[in-house]
Amino acid sequence: MLKKEANLMDDKMIKRTLMRISHEILERNKGTEGLAIVGIQCRGAYLAQRIADLIKEIDGSDVPVGIMDITLYRDDLTMIDYCPVVHSTKVEFDIDDKKIVLVDDVLFTGRTIRCALDELIDLGRPQNIQLAVLIDRGHRELPIRADYVGKNLPTTLEENVEVRLVEADGKDEIVLINQKEKRQ
């Protein structure tokens, strides 16, 4: 098995992309009134915090940030052969009537987002829920689409998109990994 990595974004591009998404969020919601950002454990959570920081930079106002662990909502718990570690959900503000921007790193089948939507709705009744992702790699299995997309990236199922962030991996980059055996 040969792993081939191709760089998709470097740290500068990631920063520019997040800045653009932050602007789009502000534009679409006409400011920060009633706005809140919720990131999905664990890289979505870092991205959510960065977006909130950027919004503060642009607009000067604080936006509440929450973290959500969707393990308990997974629909494949009985199918996976390990016991996923459960992390905490920390949404310490009332989400009723809030405009929630859900943040994740990669949008793929849509199942993670489905879990997150279920969990958000269990936490309260937001006015609306929007979705921001850094990469949309296609292959949806559920009717879900993102409102803010860093980069649309057509992939094959053998490929894997890995988002690496300073907070977890020591540096910012996004790589495409081809796990398919190299053909002669």
Binding site: Y73, Y82, S88, T89, I121
Partner: protein, 314 residues
């Protein structure tokens, strides 16, 4: 991070320190669920959990039932009065019947020590010990340890005193195993007639003097004293017990550390083993124990269910 592979939770004695830590860590995540307006996650949706209580219990049964329900499992509660046991069926027959109804987990409380140990291996469903005789009550010890860790930030190196009827206490045994594994110093304190023989081999300090048990303790865990023990001649009177071993605010202030935690697994005999000024006082974390019980039991149900569905697939 260590992995959880046990389909049953029968006792603390057989767990490793890593396994105990994993449960406590998982419980932290579950604690948040009970603070939501919708106190429920779909994790165990479609699973059936039977609560089989051969001994009266309000607290533990309610706590387990809420834990299961908050994980979206379907629960069925069976109490002795409605079971087949009184019709002469053996316990094994009863369990084989419940198993045949395709349940996923059985939470069992029984007055005989060790009942589930002989049953668990031959049973498909997860078996969770909710207290067996004088043997173990693992989830109580886990929630006690969770509460200590939450309040003190650690368990290693703490001085924990367990006060009361050690001989007949499954709570004491489970706590001793768990606390020792996590590195606490454990002292037990009771009248000599309520100390089981050779308990020192479990690695605990022993005293019959309450002031010694209070001195230097970071945590004291007070056990319920039952009237039957007095009738069995193990101590002269409830009055004398209260004088000798009842924990009052006055005694705490005289002997204990200022930041001592007071715990009690309930139900309390106010004015006997614990005075109202302690039960309702600032040292007491008794109600927090109850709250934490649900999170710990959710974590246990989640872990054993996962391990059991993995096992069935392989």
């Amino acid at each position: 991070m260590s992995e959880w592979t046990r389909k049953d939770l029968l006792g603390i004695e057989e767990l490793s320190a890593q396994e105990i830590e994993l449960i406590l860590q998982t419980a932290e995540s579950f604690k948040e669920v009970s603070t939501r307006s919708v106190k429920k996650v779909p994790t165990l949706r479609g699973k059936t959990i039977v609560l089989f209580f051969f001994e009266p219990s309000t607290r533990t049964r309610t706590s387990f039932e809420l834990a299961a329900k908050r994980l979206s499992a379907d629960t069925l509660s069976i109490a002795t009065s409605t079971s087949a046991i009184q019709k002469g069926e053996t316990l094994k027959d009863t369990f084989k019947n419940i198993e045949a109804m395709k349940v996923d987990a059985i939470i069992l409380r029984h007055s005989s020590s060790g009942v589930m140990h002989t049953l668990a291996d031959s049973m498909g469903p997860s078996i969770i010990n909710a207290g067996d005789g004088c043997h173990e009550h693992p989830t109580q010890a886990l929630l006690d340890m969770f509460t200590i860790k939450e309040k003190k930030g650690k368990i290693k190196g703490l001085n924990v005193s367990i006060i009361g009827d050690i001989t007949h206490s499954r709570v004491a045994r489970s706590n001793i195993w768990g606390l020792k594994k996590l590195g606490a110093n454990v002292t037990i304190c009771a009248p000599r007639t309520l100390l089981p023989r050779e308990i020192e081999k479990m690695g605990v300090n022993i005293t019959t003097d309450l002031s010694k048990a209070l001195k230097g303790a970071d945590v004291i865990n007070i056990l319920r004293i039952q009237k039957e023990r007095q009738k069995a001649g193990l101590f002269p009177s409830m009055r004398e017990y209260a004088i000798q071993y009842g924990v009052s605010k006055e005694k705490l202030e005289k002997y204990a550390k200022k930041d001592v935690l007071v715990m009690h697994p309930g139900p309390m005999n106010r004015g006997i083993e614990i005075m109202p000024d302690v039960a309702d006082g600032t040292y007491s974390v008794i109600l927090e124990q109850v709250t934490n019980g649900i999170a710990v039991r959710m974590a246990v149900l989640y872990l054993v269910s996962q391990a059991n569905s993995d096992e069935q697939e392989q």
